[in-house]
């Protein structure tokens, strides 16, 4: 075994200047590719009503059509049709839309509440122990358990899933926001602000919030992939999005009944989820590496 570890390690810690982080990000080819993939998928999902070739909800008589590259494939239905004869490509576009929406809303809502808690607890040291204890308690409920509980109470649907996933995002983002905000609070301009008699409110919103927000958002966005996976899993189990809406996890679960004759019905949406989450994870890891080389894994 040859080991060439510790010496090069120290030299690796040359962080690029913060302003150029996105340039550094794009220099990493895998990350650039992941980011472009993610953005194109998001764009396609956004434009779903314009670019979907067929109605995603209307069944036809041509059921279980294979995709165009398979035998008996047909250019009318590029990715084939599902068990009810619905065009899979159109459903994929609409499904991606709902899957992404669930993820974005959950992370957005949870991160907003969590960051505010974290910032407040760094700003007002008095409430810090309480907020952190609260975060500890909330961390004890894994997202999937919250999801199961809320769906059990309110019945299956996208809304309880979004609420559960938001709640699950709160404690993590509170901790992240707190640690970032504590760093900001030690800066001289905060002290200077206090010295010239700025109100707490100005100090908080103009100086603390504005200087922490981008870092918080980036770190929280690392959760996006995981949240998408849990949301899709809940929909797969029949606990999330309800038919007739299209959602990727639900589409995969509907395809289970046709696994013997038409495995593509389940596999295509599954691959779509994989690509989205993979792209999100690679992008997130790369951003973190660029911003904070100490966290490089």
């Amino acid at each position: 075994m040859t080991a060439s570890v510790p010496l090069t390690e120290a030299l690796d810690d040359t962080a690029p200047p913060r302003q150029a982080w996105w340039k550094a990000l794009l220099r990493d080819r895998a990350a650039a590719l992941a980011l472009i993939t993610l953005l194109s998928i998001a764009l396609a999902a956004l434009l779903a009503p314009l670019i979907a070739p067929h109605d995603p909800y209307e069944g036809t008589r041509s059921v279980m059509q294979p995709p165009v590259w398979a035998e008996r494939g047909d250019w009318t239905y590029l990715l084939g049709t599902d068990g009810q004869g619905r065009d899979i490509l159109s459903r994929l576009l609409y499904g991606t839309r709902l899957t992404l929406l669930i993820g974005i809303l959950s992370v957005g809502l949870g991160a907003t509440v969590g960051s505010l808690l974290g910032l407040l607890s760094a700003f007002y040291k008095r409430i810090d122990p309480y907020v952190m204890r609260f975060a500890d308690v909330m961390l004890s409920f894994p997202a999937i358990l919250l999801g199961l509980a809320l769906v059990a109470i309110f019945g299956p649907g996208a809304l309880p899933v979004i609420i559960a996933l938001s709640i699950a995002t709160v404690p993590d983002s509170a901790r992240i926001a707190r640690s970032i905000a504590i760093g900001v609070m030690e800066q001289e301009y905060i002290e200077a602000g206090r010295a010239i008699g700025l109100s707490d409110r100005t100090l908080f919103s103009r100086y603390l919030l504005r200087n922490s927000i981008s870092a918080i958002m980036i770190f929280v966005s690392l959760r996006f992939g995981q949240i998408i996976l849990i949301g899709a899993a809940l929909s797969f189990l029949g606990l999330g999005a309800r038919p007739p809406a299209a959602e990727l996890g639900m589409m995969a679960s509907q395809g289970r009944d046709f696994m013997l004759f038409a495995p593509h019905i389940a596999f295509i949406p599954s691959i779509a989820i994989f690509v989205i989450v993979l792209a999100a994870n690679i992008t997130g890891d790369a951003i973190r590496d660029v911003l904070d080389p100490r966290l490089r894994s």
Binding site: V5, T8, A252
Partner: protein, 313 residues
């Protein structure tokens, strides 16, 4: 040692209360009238009223909550709406299969993940390192149901190597092992990634430390340095990872059990929720939350044992 234990027990009290409130809410907030559901749609109103009284549904929320807590403490979680068996018996029957699945998953994925992570750290930047990292990113990005479906398609349908429906019996029987193979493989595949990743960064961290340099300079060979002085210390954070990832594993188990019709707690919960069987759903969530608390507690205690520095903090 006892200190850590006591602190952990105290910390879990609010969580326990939260879980109990959640379980209680589940019975309270659920749409539909439990007495009506219990009596059946055709029952005359008098009978429904009688059942309501018998179930204590006409008393104040507070009294009902205390009644609920008291019953839970006595292990009485009510009866399933659907099967009419006691929730406790349904849960007990499902716990063993789930534990078997967890064991069958962890027993191969943790050693493999640790091995992969160590190799990646030792040959940092090499092809092996990149392959391990790519595998682990792919692993945490794959929806677990996709893995399950792929394994069923290949190992179950195409090559007919393993059965993919239900449980064949206890883990020590041949049929039991054959049935658990695919579920354990699916669940393990999503767990290797996080373990390998954590091991890698932890080993990298430890290999930089002074005692490793001392070990090297006193002339130990490289594998001794890594195994004795590196890996041993690096495994401490990996232990906590298993605790931190318990929720992740739990989510995976819920999906895996459902796809493979494996009769564990995960499938039981999903079934109960989908059929609006509130007593059973409440029981499942209670048990899952309790399991989660216990796992985290065990991990914390293990951590304190493995790393005496933790106690001093």
């Amino acid at each position: 040692m006892l200190d850590t234990l006591a602190k952990r027990l105290l910390q879990s009290i609010p969580v326990l209360i939260g879980v109990l409130v959640l379980g209680f809410l589940l019975v309270q907030l659920s749409p539909g009238d439990p007495a009506r559901v219990f009596a059946g749609a055709m029952a005359p109103p008098e009978v429904v009223e009688q059942i309501r009284e018998k179930m204590g549904l006409d008393r104040s929320l507070w009294t009902q909550f205390w009644g609920y807590v008291e019953r839970v403490m006595h292990g009485d979680l009510g009866r399933s709406f659907i099967s009419n068996k006691t929730v406790t018996s349904e849960l007990l029957a499902a716990i063993v299969p789930t534990m078997e699945l967890m064991i069958a998953c962890l027993i191969w994925s943790i050693p493999l993940g640790i091995g992969m992570g160590t190799l990646a750290a030792v040959w940092r930047g090499s092809l092996v390192d990149r392959a391990v990292m790519a595998f682990s990113v792919a692993g945490v990005s794959l929806p677990i149901f996709f893995i399950c479906l792929l394994l069923i398609q290949w190992f179950g349908v195409k090559w007919q190597l393993f059965p993919f429906i239900g449980r064949g019996g206890p883990l020590w029987t041949v049929e039991g092992l054959r049935h658990i193979a695919l579920p354990a493989l699916s669940l393990g595949l999503i767990f290797i990634g996080p373990v390998a990743r954590m091991t890698r960064s932890s080993v990298l961290e430890v290999l930089r430390l002074d005692h490793v340099r001392t070990a090297r300079s006193k002339g130990l060979n490289e594998s001794q340095v890594i195994l004795r002085h590196g890996l041993r210390n690096a495994l401490i954070p990996v232990v906590t990872l298993v605790g931190l990832q318990a929720g992740y594993l739990l989510g995976g188990a819920v999906v895996t059990e459902t796809v493979f019709s494996y009769p564990g707690i995960g499938r039981l919960s999903v079934g109960a929720i989908l059929s609006a069987d509130y007593p059973l759903a409440q029981g499942c969530i209670l048990v899952l939350a309790l399991a989660f608390i216990i796992i985290n507690m065990i991990v914390d205690i293990l951590y304190a044992i493995l790393d005496p520095r933790v106690q001093k903090r």
